[in-house]
Symmetry: C2
Subunit: 331 residues, 2 copies
DNA sequence: CTGTTAGCGCTTTCAA
DNA sequence: TTGAAAGCGCTAACAG
């Protein structure tokens, strides 16, 4: 029979010291005489002792784990956020416990409340409206939220969606586009920010905006809505998509329908997912700096955990990426 | 000042029962008289009591957490695996603790050994050679490995890479291709399986294979190696890429270089990532069923944890996806 | 420098 | 059907 894992008591006995001494030594909280340290070290290796993190966590209340909640981990925007957050976490000795909420938004609250008991802090990306999120501020753990908040006193990391949308639209206007349409996704909290930026630029140019609303922020959805947009009575000469995924789906179907991009129509998106650069024509986009956002959010959260004071809102400037899917129109 | 979270003792006191009773009631381990149950229920809601999962874990030794280690979470193949694994885990009351090893393969052992102390089991995708993995079998937690193993007595979930590669190559041969090349990635343990399948089909057709080796399984790498392949002395008439990412990068650069796909050359890949369907021409591929693999691995692991006996190797049949990036050659 | 002594919040015999 | 009591493995005062 295999004996159960050695405990700190076994080590203490083998080294003929107290458990307190072993504990302090292991945690580097204190130095001891060379003789004692050597004895402890020997006992540890002989026994193959490993400190039980659960017992430690119960006492210290710290788990060295951070919860990260995203909407859909297969969306490259979120994979990148996770990548960035995970890297920073690992560098500082933390692990990431992932939550993918997309499929069950109804259980989001329960899921996050439960999660909060198992982690030292959490980073949340949610589709909930701010008015329904009050409970988040009551969670007894540090929390960083992705996106802007008006009321809730939570630290946030947000991209400037309004600004990004404005410059993207302005660029299209300057290229001479007149009939610009927005393929949006109103279920998202960022949709209205982008719409605001677009409208502002359109208004400044004295143009009317056509808006189409999608049911999902996916390639399949962009593909599905394509025909109604390009084969409608007044085809737009430029389309701004809520994100790159929708734009990619749209472009594929447009090609099937015989609509050439950018000759017949310009198409642009948001996020700067890696694949936008590898389709033909390459997709212009607003780089929201996904990975950086993830890293920044994690840095901010760890700072809060450390007890540092942090600014409430960290805004990350987006960058316009110009590529071949846009083309100037005759004035 | 905010009082600290209520414990089971507070509940017991409020309901004037013992902590043992509360514990059993909460865990549904036993029924009690209606009066007692009502009192406990009331105390719990009044106090807003939440069971501390850490304390529970320390005693029971179960954390309801599964560790999942992948090579690069931004690779859609792994995102999908995670998606599938996470769904199954959540359905059965487990959470997923993610490890992304790509950047520090050197610390993989330490990372996983540490991880093993915090989870009930783990699922591992690794680039290590089997001969260097003996320690994995010694980890004192259930573990499911992705890929085939010869020696180690670990349960595994694997795709039939050899078979997939064989049928893919056979298809190209039947289309009349003569000069077939493989853009491989020898650092991967699956590379040789794929190479084996390709060689077998080539041999059966009496053809010679050209092999080029990449440094990374990425779009950028496919892009980088493109010119040396298409502008070399003997341009292949078909290219099999280690994965879809490399194929996508290659196709983009081929277009830049004036090489038309599939007219001048057919290109195929592995994985069936979603983006392959949305480039032009669409990328034929071997669908390795990433999401299904993740789900299957998690099911298998949870079965092991439950104590069920499971078969050592679960093989998942790949499916050939034909699309526009291949074209028949004149015989 | 080192050890003693209390627990952390919970589960789990075992007894009533 | 209920409770008393003994810890799980570790840390954290406090003493010496």
């Amino acid at each position: 029979m295999k004996k159960s894992a050695p405990t700190i008591r076994d080590v203490a006995a083998a080294a003929t010291v107290s458990t307190a001494t072993v504990s302090k030594y292991i945690n580097g909280a204190q130095r001891f005489s060379p003789k004692v340290e050597a004895a402890i070290e020997a006992a540890i290796t002989n026994l193959g002792y490993k400190s039980n993190p659960l017992a430690k966590s119960m006492i210290t209340g710290r788990t060295n784990t951070i919860g990260l909640s995203v909407l859909d981990i297969t969306n490259p925007h979120f994979s990148s956020i996770l990548k960035g957050a995970n890297r920073v976490a690992n560098d500082q000795g933390y692990s990431v416990l992932l939550v993918d909420t997309e499929e069950t938004p109804s259980r989001e609250r329960r899921t996050l409340e439960d999660l909060s008991l198992r982690v030292d802090g959490m980073i949340v990306f949610s589709r909930m409206r701010e008015s329904e999120m009050a409970w988040m501020a009551d969670i007894d753990k540090p929390l960083v939220f992705f996106g802007s908040l008006n009321e809730l006193p939570l630290p946030t990391v947000a991209s400037d969606d309004h600004g990004g949308a404005f410059m993207l639209t302005r660029h299209l206007v300057m290229l001479g586009h007149k009939r610009i349409a927005y393929l949006g996704f109103s279920k998202s909290r960022r949709d209205e920010e982008r719409l605001g930026g677009i409208r502002e630029a359109m208004k400044a140019a004295g143009l009317e905006l056509t808006v189409v609303d999608a049911d999902a922020p996916s390639m399949a959805e962009g593909e599905r809505l394509c025909s109604s947009i390009v084969l409608g009575a007044q085809r737009p000469d430029a389309l701004i998509c809520y994100n790159d995924l929708m734009a990619l789906g749209f472009m594929k179907e447009a090609a099937n329908l015989g609509v050439a991009i950018p000759r017949d129509m310009s198409v642009v998106g948001f996020d700067n997912i890696p694949y936008g650069k590898y389709v033909s024509p390459a997709l212009p986009t607003v780089d929201l700096q996904s990975e950086r956002m993830g890293a920044t959010a994690m840095e901010k959260l760890l700072a809060v955990i450390r007890g540092d004071t942090v600014e409430k809102l960290t805004k990350i400037a987006p960058q316009l990426i110009l590529r071949a899917s846009t083309q100037a129109r005759p004035a």
